[in-house]
Symmetry: C2
Subunit: 376 residues, 2 copies
């Protein structure tokens, strides 16, 4: 076979490329894998660093083929000129490319006589199963995630309620203030939070993707969802807790306990070989027996209208592991989030999320943080 795996992308955007090379560039590079050997083609600006640190078999200097080559700027002529020479000598004629391979380069390669086949939705299927080191890396990030959630709990615990506001050391507690404090600790922990932080109070928390702004109000739910990436290993953590400073309404307490029970039931039912769709469906059923319906109410989607969980690894949402309305057989070594939630305007949002590592007989929850709504 003369088939080579071929990627043209930036490893900051394409985690398969990072997985294959352990080499980060912002600008795109050419990578190919052929007969078990990995190759990177780098412009002069990246070449020395690549030669020192990329985990590949050969780093090729593009400038040895084209003067002032501009691979990193998407110069298709340069890419074709260099790869043509290399592929000819290696007798490579067919390229297996990722599903999101850039269309324009694909057309040029086809015109140049290459046959392109689109790879599996997982370009490196082995990425799905986390090995010991990867599990450890996720666990470390997840422990840091809980430290970051702890920032919110500690500040709320040390705060005082006056009328409809919460004060910490004399200042009104806002979503922005809490996020700033979370970010300060994240720097110390080497965690990147550039994809955002959810600290969403009251009705804001009923939209699961609303990041939250403004005053944190007493007696209302506060959804805190943090998904940092380790700046060292690049593995993500992902956890959510819901708090209430003051006295939650009886409806909020019931909603919280229902989500908490649902999450624990889901965690108990996870093991290798199970179809995760069933776990998702039993959460929906459980919510319905407790009186929590999902659907449009007053023009807003309310209830439980997202999946129960998703794979986590070098990406915050990583396929295939998935707990939702479509079939997915969980495997030993999958890492998935378990994050049921209930969202009703007027009562507030409640979500509780942990990461689990799937084993033959069950699952391990990674890291630990108490599930407690009320903060006095």
């Amino acid at each position: 076979m003369t088939i080579a795996k071929f990627i043209y992308d930036s490893a900051f955007r394409n985690m398969d490329l990072y997985y294959a090379t352990c080499f980060l560039t912002h600008d795109p590079v050419v990578f190919f894998e052929f007969k078990g050997k990995k190759y990177l083609i780098l412009d002069v600006l990246e070449y020395e660093r690549g030669r020192r640190s990329a985990k590949v078999d050969k780093v090729i200097n593009a400038s040895a083929y084209v003067n002032n080559s501009e691979i990193r700027k998407g110069n298709i002529k340069d890419i074709l000129q260099i790869t043509n020479l290399i592929f000819k000598s290696l007798k490579i004629k067919t390229l297996e490319v990722p599903i999101n391979f850039p269309l324009s380069l694909a057309k040029s390669l086809e015109q140049a006589g290459y046959k392109l086949t689109i790879g599996n939705s997982l370009f490196y299927p082995e990425r799905e199963i986390k090995n010991k080191d990867e599990k450890r890396a996720i666990t470390i990030t997840q422990r840091n995630t809980f430290k970051l959630i702890g920032v919110v709990e500690q500040i709320l615990a040390a705060s005082k309620i006056k009328k409809n506001r919460i004060y910490y050391k004399g200042n009104i507690v806002t979503s922005e203030f809490l996020k700033e404090q979370i970010q300060m600790l994240a720097i110390k922990l080497g965690c990147d939070l550039s994809e955002g932080i959810v600290v969403a109070c009251g009705n804001q928390g009923t939209d699961p993707h609303e990041l939250g702004t403004g005053n944190i109000k007493p007696h209302q739910s506060v959804v805190v969802d943090i998904f940092p990436r380790s700046q060292k290993t690049f593995f993500y953590g992902d956890a959510t807790r819901t708090f209430c400073k003051g006295n939650p309404s009886p409806q909020l307490v019931k909603q919280y306990n229902t989500v908490k029970t649902a999450q624990m039931k889901a965690i108990k039912s996870i093991r290798a070989g199970i179809n995760s769709r069933k776990i998702h469906e039993s959460i929906i059923n459980y919510f319905e027996t407790r009186g929590y319906k999902t659907g449009k109410i007053n023009g807003y989607e309310q209830g439980f209208f997202h999946g129960t969980g998703h794979g986590v690894g070098l990406q915050i949402h990583e396929s295939p592991p998935y707990i939702g309305s479509k079939d997915c057989i969980l495997k030993e070594g999958h890492v998935v989030s378990v994050e049921p939630g209930l969202y009703y305007r007027g009562v507030g949002g409640v979500r509780i999320e942990d990461l689990v590592y799937v084993t033959k007989t069950g699952c391990e929850v990674l890291g630990h943080y108490a599930k407690k709504l009320r903060i006095l």
Copy 2:
């Protein structure tokens, strides 16, 4: 014409999409523009937020077409089913897609009978010319960039040299410590630095893409290159200064002054209508007349081996404005970096970088920070 602009991507990765919609999602969404009207198709999880905040003419709820649609997970079947219905009613048959459009979706659309044409390398060519608001946004981020560079200068100025180390408040000054201090201020300024920070001392600074680690040594050059993105406007800043705590060698002083003069000459020659290749070439010539040659020395690329500048905007490297070895006519409204550098192992790296806004008669430097090598 029945042609529609079509994007399938995440606005975090695809700044054309953000430019078109002012709506950020991590997961990909479907966007199209037809007869001057902009449309977004969102899964239920994004729909409410999109309806509230996306700057488009119509936000379409995918769940009105497909139960539990998974557009955001790259489910091509769902994307085709929904777009087929919508495109049929609007009589859209031809799609103009970006050059990096995902290959697999492209093939599916072609099989479904659509004609795909690949758009210009700038999907929204108007992005190239910065309007008043965009210029202001870049200027604000650039002023913050200089505040962040100031962190390094202030710490070095307040530090003491003992033997081969630099001490600040009793602790050894390292690249990591300086970056932590930069990040702390960045949080206060609302700047995202997740793409990295360069604080590279001595020989580290001779590799322009090396971020730097370990002790900052006295009497050596320290290249400080910071490129933050505003968390509010998403426009980047980009600036570099080179410092030396203590007594720089005469070679380093000469190298610094040469780069400083070259940068000032380049800034003076910039105006709309000029071919920027000439600016780049005259920097190379100037360096050569001063005795600075570029090429491999002892196996390392040394001298001046990168472009003089690149466009900056919603991306840190933004085409087409470019100052380098290829032709590029600068236009009024371009924002480009001007960043010559000289890198010699044993002497150290020197780079000085500002952003300029190109005008009819010259250019405006955005923000201000002194260019001074030596810190006592």
